[in-house]
Amino acid sequence: MNIQQYNSLQQEVIESEINTHLFLEGPFKSGKTSAATARLKHLADQSNPEHQILILTPQHTLSQAYQRCLLESDFPSGVIPTITTLAGLSRQFIRLFWSMISENSGFQARSASPTFLNMESAQFFMEQVCQPFLAKGYFLEVHINQARLFSQILDTMNKAALIGYPLEETAPRLTAAWNGEAIRVKHYQQSQECALAFRKFCLQNDVLDFSLQIEIFRNAILANSSLRQQFFKPYHYLIADNIEEDVPCLHDLLLELSDQIPSMLLIKDLHAGFRSFLGADPPSADRLRSICSQNFTFTEQFRVSSPMHAFQSAMTHCIMRKNSTDISPDALQAYTLQNVQFYPEMINSICDMVDHLVHEEQVPPGEIAILSPYLPDSLKFSLTTRLQSLSIPYLSTRPSRTLAEESVTNAVLVFAKHAHPQWEIPITSEELRSALMVLLPGCDIIRASLLAQNTLKANHHLEHFSTIPEFTRTRITYAMGNQFDVILDWIDQYQQSTQVPLDVFLSLLFGEVLSQPGFGLHNDIDNAVLLTRLIASIRDFRLTFQSLAEQQHIDSSQLFMETLQRGLLPASFYRDEPDLDTVTIAPAFTFLMKNKPVRYQFWLDIGDIGWWERLDQPLTHPYVLNRNWDPSKRWTDAQEYQANQSSLERLVRGLLDRCEEHVYLYVVRLNQAGINQSSPLLSGIQLFLKRTMGVKNHA
């Protein structure tokens, strides 16, 4: 390790006394994690089987720097630190002590091991549990779809566990803060009833959703010091990074462990806390200062240009309507403001600029991010169609989207249905046509229609291309038809062998056929990533249902198909995205969570109110179901406004922190609904423009 490459403050952190607790904070890209990984190497030199290292991050994507560090040549061989999250720790703990804790915790099925539910399977069971309530007219007036309804009930349960109050307190807390229509109070109550029924179901069947998992872990580990000591005994060193994005339950745990683990490095990102809707609690993280003997604050930001820094500072002041000191003329170089009339103009302008950057300025695509509050299909389609035509690789991320909505999902499942006629799920001509357009490269809508019309038979069976008349084959082209036959041949072979679960089937189909040259998914990174998520989702679902399937004779593949049709949500926030050299197209908050800086950013339609507002969740509330909330207060518009303003400020600061060179801002006069728009972000930019008028003239 070459210690010279670090500045003096970093060196101080790296070389601090081993058996002490350090608190390190600083803005994004101020070298905190670099110092931490260097210290990790330093600790690893001291490590042995009795003195192991535990690294905690709020989500797996945030541990990548540590993962990479382990692979570096100068990392001491033989040392394998445990890198995990609160969820991972709790699962490990429960598995280890299941026999001890299952009965005391109220589990009734006496299973040999616990079954952990992921988001999909939890929603699946929640739906089952809620059906009798829905039949009684529960949530009649809640105008959201069922998938979101269930995920919000689960969210209230998670919040209770992560913050540490009984489930029964959820409705009273929400009710006390509610300031709107009285009917919502009834829904809070109904939501709680469903949550309690779901909890009962879990206990009866020895299954654990995330909330139960955390609750058991918290109760056992915090209340029982001998269990805690036993579980954490191997760890002598602990590094917890991005503690501002983590939940109070983890902070509580770290407080308890401060006596047991001699060496802790706790790292906090200033101005962050983007996962607040998932329970992130920066003020709670601040409590950890008290257990640290040394506090370090890094201030210098690497890789952020001076103009960008000036622009960020001025913009955050404008958003919060704070009086500003002189704005540096540098700020004017950090951004370009584009006024356009309509969406297509915006798309063209962005893609032309991306094209220029990639092909003329030789900027790697991975250094460019196109960001908007939401990423609906039409926007994604327009952007990706243009980028494709310019041969620019891209990767879109839409975590809260259901897998059922993706065209690639439907495409592969058409062939899954064909391969499994016993499911008796019909294939329609339109969906076959769509599948062909996705899976056969260059397959246009006319040839896809001809191929679909001529190969799909009345019994929903697919015939080979080679069986259709010569003239039609010529029209479709042999190149395309033969590829279709390759898929059918592969399925014919598959049907002659032992059938495998759906996720395995799709993995094989993708790996052996669809990802190969000559097929649509070859080099289609965006769809390949989606398909990987689909396969992972089905696998998780199957693993959860394995034991239950045996008892209830359920075919988990078919069940997944049905559940998918009902709008299953992916377990979005817990999955990693690959780090590829592609243009990122993502909702702004999703991009922030990836924590990856780029050189250029494009902000779409800054007049869209979506930049400012929080996603409405009628059954839960990120600020009220929070440890910092005073339960005697009501949540008023002033607080809502302030929270949204702060969130916008945090978003703008976070995005500009992750933008190293230039940001392009787009104002669209008429949105897709033909409406003139206005948003606090746009107002902030306007104020910035006003304030810089003098600066411009001067410059």
Partner: protein, 741 residues
């Protein structure tokens, strides 16, 4: 500085800088212009601070566009950036903004959906049908004894009546902020279990349940929820009050109680609110809960400065004299209950040297045709007259104004038979239907992309407006015919060797055609894969590239929502089904709320040499050189006389009862512990309807610039007489002429 020289009355209004002001404006007095200029000057002054806006509220979408353009133009001329510092909205648009910013307060999600009129009609239809099956006794009770033998025949008529009643009940109840449960409780408390009230409440309850089940709200809910949201959260209200530091309300004569309450809250006790309207042009009470009394009461308030805008350069002196006489006569008309229906100010000509002087007077161009005609003959006569006139005056504008759509449709058909260029301004606007047609034809092609016939239809639909000259139209027609004959479309549009076939082969002589078709094939090539998207997103993708007009974009967005709901209700629906839905809009079988009520930005001067057929309601705000008003009889323009007939009093219902009015009277009386005598509400409704019809007549007359023709007919059953206001105008005109002579 802007090129606007205000008249003295306008200049007075432009001095406004704070507080409450009410303005009574006559037709053609330039109130939109004045209000737009006022908005621009407020924005330019330091009265509107950073982050604040002037909120302009108007009645219909066409006015939103009009206002936005005018204010933007003035703001620009004042050296400021357009689109900043003001917001123009209809009441629905405003309610949407209020709820959209804090949907949680109304119990809604961020992207909540509003049910369109068709979907809510479907729900009502289903509920009313079920109700009818179970309440035959109700129908018998109210059916005229002489009609009771024909109950089966009357079934569809009853259904129409009950549907209209149900919609009115729901509308009224929501305007009164009553939920079905509240109505039920009041009924129980008052021991008022009247069957009409029970009917309304049961339908209302089932309707709301159906909305909840579909996770949707309707347009009335939107306004109710906006009001409730403002009441519920004082902080939010305060924030909006701060944001909208000035409220300018146009067409205030058509304000409803809820509109007044919402704007009143947004304004606050000491806020700034300018209300402009013409109480004589209040013509929406029958369809809505609007009432000119709100504006009139506002004008009387002590804290309100009241002004008139009496000058109008629109019409000749003769036409103004007729309109003014109607106002003066109305104060002494035979039915005392109607004397309030038209009120001063009278219309005054523009002052000397005004940039918009009145047209030179031409009393000989006033034709008040008193001869009794059958409905058929009246139509024939008018068609003949207008045909001749348009031939002689190809550079002038003309409109035939009707009170009902069916009458308009009949006239349109007759004009078309005579090959007279005709423009309809009836139920569903032409532009709405054209937008829907373009999307329908494209979807139809995507549903069946191997069909050259559908390809040709889509091409024609998208690009026919590019070819306006007769010769060009012929070329287009030939080209489309040739296109229909093409086989092997795949090689034509998506050639396997990557080279597009030389499309000019179809019509190699026409360069424009070749260029347009190249654009079309490029469009298809880029967007064919959008067919993979969910229907709503497919429509948005296509429309964002096809349309650049705010109205078309807004409509396409609305259509996308309609189709998305269709997709949710029928998950097996495919592109063909969606195309069929859009086709219904094109063929006027499906109305799209928010778009069917008005033609957006219709400019009569763009239709010189064509006959515009419009309802008087749709003609509001417009003007033509010559105007025909037909059916000036006592059915279309009753005057509260014992012998008058009323559209709301169905012949098959006993005792000439207006059941809708009777039912609403019971609803309104609920909280006032009043007894409702049967028949009383019917009589009251006659008065309200007659009053509105006099105003409608006034609106019709004031659409004319230079020439006016009024005719009447004896009605379907040959038992109608001339409308009293028409009789009075005829007498007045004859006297005037006699005195002139």
């Amino acid at each position: 500085m802007p090129d606007f020289i205000p008249r003295p009355a306008q200049a007075h209004i432009l001095k406004y800088d704070h507080g409450k002001m009410g303005i009574a404006a006559v037709p053609g007095s330039g109130k939109t212009h004045t209000l737009s200029y006022l908005a621009a000057t407020l924005i330019a002054s330091d009265k509107v601070r950073d982050g604040q806006e002037v909120l302009i509220v108007t009645l219909v979408n066409s006015a939103v566009q009009n206002f936005s353009k005018r204010v933007g133009g003035f703001v620009h001329e004042l050296g400021l950036i357009e689109n900043i510092g003001y917001r123009v909205r209809t009441l629905h648009g405003l309610a949407h903004d209020i709820v959209r910013e804090r949907p949680d307060l109304a119990g809604l999600e961020n992207n909540f959906q509003i049910l369109d009129e068709r979907a809510s009609s479907d729900i009502l239809d289903q509920i009313v049908s079920t109700w009818m099956r179970n309440h035959q006794d109700f129908l018998v009770t109210y059916t005229h004894p002489e009609s009771q033998e024909a109950m089966q025949y009357l079934s569809s008529k009853w259904k129409m009546t009950l549907l209209s009643m149900a919609a009115s009940f729901i509308h009224q109840a929501k305007d009164m902020e009553l939920t079905p449960e509240m109505v039920n409780t009041s009924m129980a408390n008052n021991h008022s279990e009247h069957e009409l009230l029970r009917f309304g409440t049961e339908i209302y309850r089932d309707y709301q349940n159906a909305l909840r089940y579909q996770a949707a709200i309707d347009f009335e809910d939107l306004i109710r929820l906006a009001y409730k949201t403002l009441q519920m959260d004082a902080d939010y209200l305060q924030r909006l009050q701060e944001r909208w530091s000035f409220i300018l309300e146009d067409e205030a004569q058509d304000s409803s109680a809820l509109q007044e309450k919402i704007l009143g809250l947004l304004c606050g006790e000491h806020g700034n609110w300018v209300r402009v309207g013409d109480p004589n042009q209040a013509i929406y009470e029958t369809f809505t809960t609007a009432d000119p009394k709100y504006l009139l009461q506002f004008l009387q308030r002590k804290d309100v400065q009241a002004f008139d805008l009496p000058n109008s350069g629109r019409s000749t002196h003769s036409i103004m004299a007729l309109a003014n006489h109607l106002i003066k006569w109305n104060g002494t008309q035979p039915s005392p209950a109607l004397t309030y229906s038209l009120v001063p100010p009278l219309i005054e000509p523009t002052p000397a040297d005004d940039p918009q002087p009145n047209p030179p007077d031409a009393p000989e161009k006033i034709f008040l045709f008193t001869e009794k005609l059958s409905a058929e003959k009246e139509e024939d006569m008018v068609v003949q007259s207008v045909t001749r006139w348009i031939r002689e005056n190809p550079q002038q504008t003309v409109a035939i104004l009707v009170t009902r759509n069916d009458k308009g449709a009949s006239l349109v058909q007759k004009l078309k038979n005579k090959k007279v260029p005709t423009v309809e301004l009836l139920q569903t606007s032409f532009s709405t239907r054209t937008t829907a047609k373009k999307l329908a034809d494209l979807l139809d092609y995507f549903a069946d992309p191997t069909s050259s016939k559908k390809l040709s239809a889509a091409f024609e639909s998208l690009y026919k407006d590019t070819f306006e000259e007769p010769e060009q139209k012929k070329t287009m027609h030939t080209f489309c015919d040739d296109l229909k004959k093409q086989s092997l479309l795949e090689e034509f549009l998506f050639p396997s060797n990557g080279n597009l076939i030389n499309q000019t082969e179809l019509n190699s002589e026409d360069e424009l055609m070749a260029e347009v078709f190249r654009k079309f094939t490029e469009f298809l090539s880029v967007n064919q894969r959008a067919a993979l998207l969910p229907i709503q997103q497919l429509i948005l993708t296509l429309s964002s590239q096809l349309f650049t007009d705010a109205h078309e974009l807004a409509l396409a967005y609305k259509l996308a929502e309609v189709l998305e709901r269709e997709a949710k209700a029928n998950p097996t629906s495919g592109l063909k089904d969606f195309a069929a839905e859009l086709d219904k809009v094109y063929h006027n079988r499906l109305r799209i709320t928010g778009f069917s009520e008005e033609e957006l930005e219709f400019d009569p001067d763009q239709h010189k040499g064509e006959v515009v057929v419009a309802t008087i309601h749709k003609a509001k705000g417009l003007e033509w050189d010559r105007v025909y008003i037909v059916s000036a009889n006592n059915y279309d323009f009753p005057c509260n006389q014992p012998y008058d007939q009323y559209i709301s009093e169905k012949y098959f219902i006993r005792d000439h009862l207006n059941l809708e009015a009777e039912m609403l009277a019971h609803l309104k009386a609920l909280n006032q512990y009043q007894r409702v005598e049967e028949g009383e509400a019917t009589l009251q409704a006659r008065k309200a309807y007659s009053a509105e019809r006099i105003r409608l007549f006034y609106v019709g007359i004031t659409r004319a610039r230079k020439e006016l023709v009024i005719t009447w007919n004896e009605g379907k059953f040959n038992n109608c007489v001339m409308a009293i206001p028409f009789v009075e105008l005829t007498t007045f005109w004859e006297d005037e002429h006699a005195s002139h002579a």
